[in-house]
Amino acid sequence: MFVAIEDVCFSYTDAKTRALDNFTLKIEKGEVISILGRSGSGKSTVLRLLAGLEKPEKGRLIIQDEVLFDDKIFLQPEKRGIGMVFQDYALFPHLTVAENILFGLFRMKKAAKKKRLQEVLELVELQDFGKRYPHQLSGGQQQRVAIARAVAPNPHLILLDEPFSNLDAELQGKIREELRDILKKANITSIFVTHDEKDAHILADRIVKLKNGRIEFVGRPCDMLDTYRQTGVQPSTDGFVEKSLTGVN
């Protein structure tokens, strides 16, 4: 087991209801997981908890046998080795594309840094854009810089929050293909959040469907289609969750 999220609960400060309730998920190395759900269902919250930007009330988080969180331990985000691509990309506006990508490589030697920069720029096909500032790029290019920046330090896991939401429809299709290629090429385990089922079906090895902070469905994209076909309603039994979880294990 590569990533294990066990029984995680969380509510925001001053919020009345739980943003996430008993969230459990196990992920294999190299797997691409999609979290699907309406706005406000808790998708971003899952990513923020994994990244260490929020602290769960209870539960356990483990990556590659290292405990990130339990009753006693809370590992700060900078110690987790998890990359994140933010919904608005959060590219540092005062730094160039190259400086943005080098930002997370401060532990490397100079030569290694330069090499890695070239590698990831090639990966996202932006070799000639290193000297530009984020505001001089198109939306699609900005997004690729954000991905390059997140993968550059070789994280165990990369999290993408609605990577397509800021792009126009035409671009979305193209970028979706690109992203799949990038993720597969880099062979990084990844979780991406979306509210568009099509994204999930095309990109994901497995889909997690969230509703009001609870898991409604976990399984392969084709399983999800099957249940639609059989019942005509969206599956929501907890038993199904268990079954599909064990099915993958």
Partner: protein, 543 residues
Amino acid sequence: MQHRFTNINAWTVSAVIIIFLLFLPNLTIVTGLFTPSNENWEHMKKFVLWGFVKNSLILTAATAFFTILIGLSLAWLIAQYDFPMRHFLKWALILPLSIPPFIGAYTYHGMLSYTGVIQTTLRENFGMAVNSAYFDIMNLPGAIFIYTMFLFPYVYSIAQVYLSRQSASLIESTRILGKGPWKTFFQVVLPISRISIIAGASLVVLEVLNDYGVVKYYGVQTFTTAIFQSWFGLGDIESSIKLAASLMGFVILILMIEKLLRGRRQYSYSTTKVRPLPLIKLSGWKAAAAAGYGLFILSLAFFIPVAQLIDWTLLTFGTIPMGAFMNYVRNSVFVAGLSATLIIAFALIVGNFARMVRGRLGKLLPRLTVLGYSIPGAVIAVAVVTAFIGLDRFLAPFYVWAGFSTTLVLSVSIVLLVTAYIIRFFAIGYNSIETGYDKIGTDFRDASRTLGLGVTKTFFKVDMPMMKGAIISGFILVFIDVLKEIPLTLILRPFNFDTLSTKAFQYASDEKIMEASQASLLIIGISALAIVFFYKFLERELD
């Protein structure tokens, strides 16, 4: 509860200490209320207290009324009509803020006195022997005039921005309904700009209560002058603490009234883009009247006093030894620069803490420190001195051990003065920094942390460079406020330590009005430059 503090680290600890230290001295004032009263206080309560209260009430109420009248009418003209010189007046009408009221006070007194420019001109050019009493400005109405002239821009600037952003349709529809401009003003503009008027007027009221220079110079007894009198005149610290506590109660009452009047709506602009009000072009006598009105107020509140100060400076230039003058400049720049730097540093720490804690607590705790700005300087002075004397008493064994010749060390040092400035002006810097943090949000910080940088490194590599604008503007605002400050500086400065403003005040108090002009002009020049800088800066930001 526990998970709120995800980071019990150096940031949290420093922020809590700063908040505590900024708030603590004010508590010493409150405790003063409960100490048994002495004879002086009983006497004061019986015979003179009501006089101060009455004067303070009249001053604040009348100044609030006149600043609203002038500030709002100008704001309305600028926001609604197009007329010659509108563009110039729009920003120039903020300039009177660069003249500290006490400088305006002695300048007007100088101009109106028997030997001043007005009476001399009347006598010599028109042969009119006028009764000097008509020109006496050194009284309560005179003080109201001075405050109105030099404080109305608070109301003007806030109301002008607010009115310019009001939805055009609201005002247009009343016009279409056939209401004239006067009816529109009273039935629509006044009610909708209520929140901005209250915001501006409460700043004015707090400034009036804080002021010492004008009332002292014009011989009007108020709370502030009474605090000085019982402290320096009678050497009665206990009574000044009691006076300070009463004044603080008065201020808290005003803040509560403000909150009540504002209602539940916070003062803020709607975020959606509103169609700007199309300007109505004035012509003929109406255009002339509008421009004339603006220019008339601007002349009274800026050009005339500045021209007089320039005249006096030219007359006396060279009589003040340059060495001494440069020394005042150095002292001013030193205390203002040091206080502004510390305030910005503290504000950055507290602001970052507020971001980390989040929730109600994160918003509430820093609010405590912001209280200082509504507390008059004389009250803060009393509080800080009381606290520092206590601190010196506590440290006395250490001083003896270290071989100091006295056990009053901190309470007579520049540390005292700078501490007081920090408490009084922290809010100015904090507002600017808080806006800066709000503007950049938390995504950049979060991104930096997922890329492997801790809170502190993130602060220096991401937050600081992205908040350059907020840091610079906060620094400048605090700097000019310290430069102009009078009551705190007079009470707390170390022996023989003079700044531009204390020197100007002393010269003026000794009836050496002309000698005061040079220092005054420099203060006004620096403040005016800062105001122009901000106007241009803000204008660019808003585009």
